[in-house]
């Protein structure tokens, strides 16, 4: 009898536990649900809508659900588009090269020349201080510096270095690149700093032990190991520059064009399907660029 009761309770126990518990698979799905919903509602759905609209027809006042491809034909067939892409790529290239150079050396200084971790963190936070103000304000504050009667020109004039104000300081490609470098360098510093901090300092000693000079240590050990951080920074900067319209508009004074600015103009003319087609082309283009970067550098160990 005693054994029977015990086996009965054993049979009841697991059944009761089962009725309250979900299977591990269901729990996993439940845990992934919130993020799936957010990404679905705010990322996938809008992109899908843009893709759908890009095939619609439109006139000066209205859009008509349809399946036409002339939005793409117009975008890809126009020499303006190609010129604008080329111009945007030119900005991206300049800004990338300059932010990579500055970003690497700032990160290198922070990671290898500042000895205490506390000081490293303090200086890194100092780098982020400009981010306490908005992009627009940081951009606009260049105008009094670079303008015709701005700080730079008046200083140069007063010092007698130039006879008349330099015109290309503001409302030029130079101003656009300068403002973008200012806005985006930190996106390069952060991932490179992160990578450099992970480099075992004994690797540098081992290289020195093997007779490497300072320059050889940099090119043979530190640069190869910093590549993943550089790749992540590159992805940040390139995607930000490719999608930028406000900096280009403000700093070039409307004289220069970028892909995003072209889209903004189309939207202000209510040509939404054309802008949508343009957006899809840009999205594909940027994704191809990111894919190319990932092919060159393996960033998996950074994530």
């Amino acid at each position: 009898m005693a054994t029977m009761t015990s086996s009965e309770t054993e049979q009841i126990e697991p059944r009761r536990a089962k009725s309250f518990r979900l299977s591990p698979t269901a729990i996993s799905y439940l845990q992934a649900t919130p993020l799936t919903l957010i990404l679905g509602a705010f990322l996938l759905l809008p992109i899908l809508m843009i893709a759908v609209v890009s095939f619609w027809d439109y006139d000066f006042a209205q859009m008509y659900p349809d399946f036409v491809t002339f939005n793409y034909a117009e975008t890809l067939g126009s020499w303006v588009t190609w010129k604008t892409y080329l111009n945007t790529l030119k900005f991206a290239l300049f800004v990338w090269a300059i932010t990579l150079f500055i970003g690497f050396w700032v990160a290198y200084f922070l990671a290898f020349h500042i000895r205490t971790t506390a000081m490293q963190m303090v200086l890194f936070l100092v780098c982020t201080v400009p981010f306490l103000t908005s992009n627009i304000i940081r951009m606009i504050s260049w105008i009094p510096v670079l303008g015709r009667n701005g700080l730079v020109n008046s200083t140069l004039l007063n010092a007698g270095i130039v006879p008349e104000p330099i015109e290309w300081l503001l409302y030029s490609d130079f101003a656009v690149v300068l403002a973008m470098v200012h806005l985006y360098t930190l996106f390069m510093v952060t991932p490179i700093f992160n990578t450099l901090m992970r480099i075992d300092k004994s690797l540098v000693e081992a290289a020195r032990d093997a007779g490497a000079s300072g320059w050889q240590i940099l090119t043979n050990v530190i640069l190869p190991l910093a590549k993943p951080g550089m790749a992540i920074g590159t992805i940040f900067v390139v995607t930000l520059v490719m999608a930028d319209f406000s900096t280009v508009q403000v700093m070039s004074g409307g004289q220069s064009a970028s892909v995003a600015l072209m889209m903004k103009n189309q939207m202000s003319l209510l040509q939404y399907p054309a802008a949508a087609a343009n957006a899809v082309v840009l999205l594909v283009f940027v994704l191809l660029m990111v894919a190319a970067i990932l092919r060159i550098v393996d960033i998996r160990k950074e994530l």
Partner: protein, 363 residues
């Protein structure tokens, strides 16, 4: 490859700010010696090694390697090679490029340096892994790569910073044997930093016991174990009971020590028996017998506080006569022929020559 060099360290100090890591040590390591720097963490052994390697500046003093003073030379110009604690292999290079790194820095052509590196890998029996990255290797293999990378510079002395600490116990013993074999076949000077006295005993021709930035004793392992110079050495090497007390009598080669509070007296022999106020004596744990002493001062009676069975031997912890935790190792045969229990009072005794006087470090 046999061009071993003598290392001569002359009153070298290392001072970090206000703390002294190494305090004016002098040491001669003969050419072709396997030398172990042994001590607890923070004793200055790694600083000493890094000063020999050139990765740490020398605050004062000089280091000579062979016929040249290397005090101010950069690491690669010293004729030493260092093997780092975590091996410090370059994660982005395959084994050939890791081993060939120093040759590349010297500007050797690609084919030549790869051929040399391959030879070195073959010596370490790693040729089949040549194109792998360090992360794809086991700890023991990584260590052999680190060795190959250090040895390809053809050093006069190899400096090893806790080379076995990252390995599991089984591998540790195997790599230990490999290191010893390698040193014998290369004939160069090895300086090996470790905190394991077992490792040092197994490997070294010369053990340098360090504590608090100073050398407590530098001698052959057998001398270190049989005649520890100081109480620290006796305690650190283990298998010694150290008794501290007041020195009451001193003859030419013998002292009498009196333990405070109980006034029990112990005899001990030694070389430096000048009369001092306090003294320490050491008694080997395996030389203590469970028997009444034949002579006064060569034993005591205490009660057993713990018994540990260790297979071939049994470890007894005994307290009494003002001595806490006196360890006795008896063979299993002797123990089971006449078993004792915890709490029992037993007489302990030892021979006169097994109790030795320990010196003090002169400050």
């Amino acid at each position: 490859m046999s061009k071993a060099a003598e290392i001569d360290i002359v009153s070298v100090s290392k001072i970090y700010g206000t703390t002294t890591a190494v305090e004016s040590i002098s040491l001669k390591i003969p050419a072709g010696t396997y030398c172990c720097l042994l001590g607890p963490s923070g004793c200055g052994k790694t600083s000493t090694l890094r000063m020999i390697a050139g990765h740490e500046s020398i605050s004062s003093g000089d280091i000579r390697l062979g016929n040249s003073v290397i005090t101010d030379l950069p690491p690669a110009k010293r004729g030493t090679a260092m093997m780092f604690q975590s091996y410090a292999l370059f994660p982005h290079l395959d084994l050939i490029d890791n081993v060939a790194f120093s040759l590349k820095m010297k500007g050797l052509g690609k084919d030549e340096r790869r051929a040399k590196a391959m030879d070195m890998l073959r010596l370490m029996q790693l040729e089949s892994y040549a194109t792998r990255r360090p992360a794809q290797l086991s700890g023991g293999q990584q260590q052999r790569v680190a060795l190959a990378r250090a040895l390809i510079t053809d050093p006069e002395a190899l400096l090893l910073d806790e080379p076995l600490s990252a390995l599991d116990p089984f591998l540790k013993i195997r790599m230990r044997a490999e290191l010893k074999k390698l040193q014998t076949s290369l004939g160069i000077t090895f300086v090996h930093v470790t905190h394991s006295q077992e490792e040092a005993m197994a490997l070294a021709d010369l053990i340098v016991v360090m504590n608090d930035g100073r050398i407590e004793q530098a001698a052959h392992p057998r001398t270190i174990f049989e005649r520890p110079a100081t109480a620290f050495v006796a305690r650190f090497m283990g298998e010694h009971n150290v008794i501290s007390g007041r020195m009451t009598k001193s003859a030419e080669d013998r002292v009498v020590l009196s333990v405070p509070e109980t006034d029990r007296e112990f005899q001990a022999t030694g070389d430096n028996c000048e009369l001092m106020e306090t003294a320490n004596i050491a008694i080997r744990t395996d030389r203590v017998r469970i028997a009444a002493p034949l002579e006064k001062g060569l034993g005591f009676t205490g009660s057993i506080s713990n018994i540990e069975y260790r297979g071939a031997s049994v470890k007894l912890s005994v307290s009494g006569a003002g001595i806490e935790d006196f360890t006795v190792i008896v063979s299993d045969a002797a123990f089971f022929a006449n078993p004792v229990k915890v709490g029992e009072a037993i007489p302990l005794s030892w021979n006169r020559e097994d109790a030795i006087v320990l010196g003090h470090l002169k400050h």
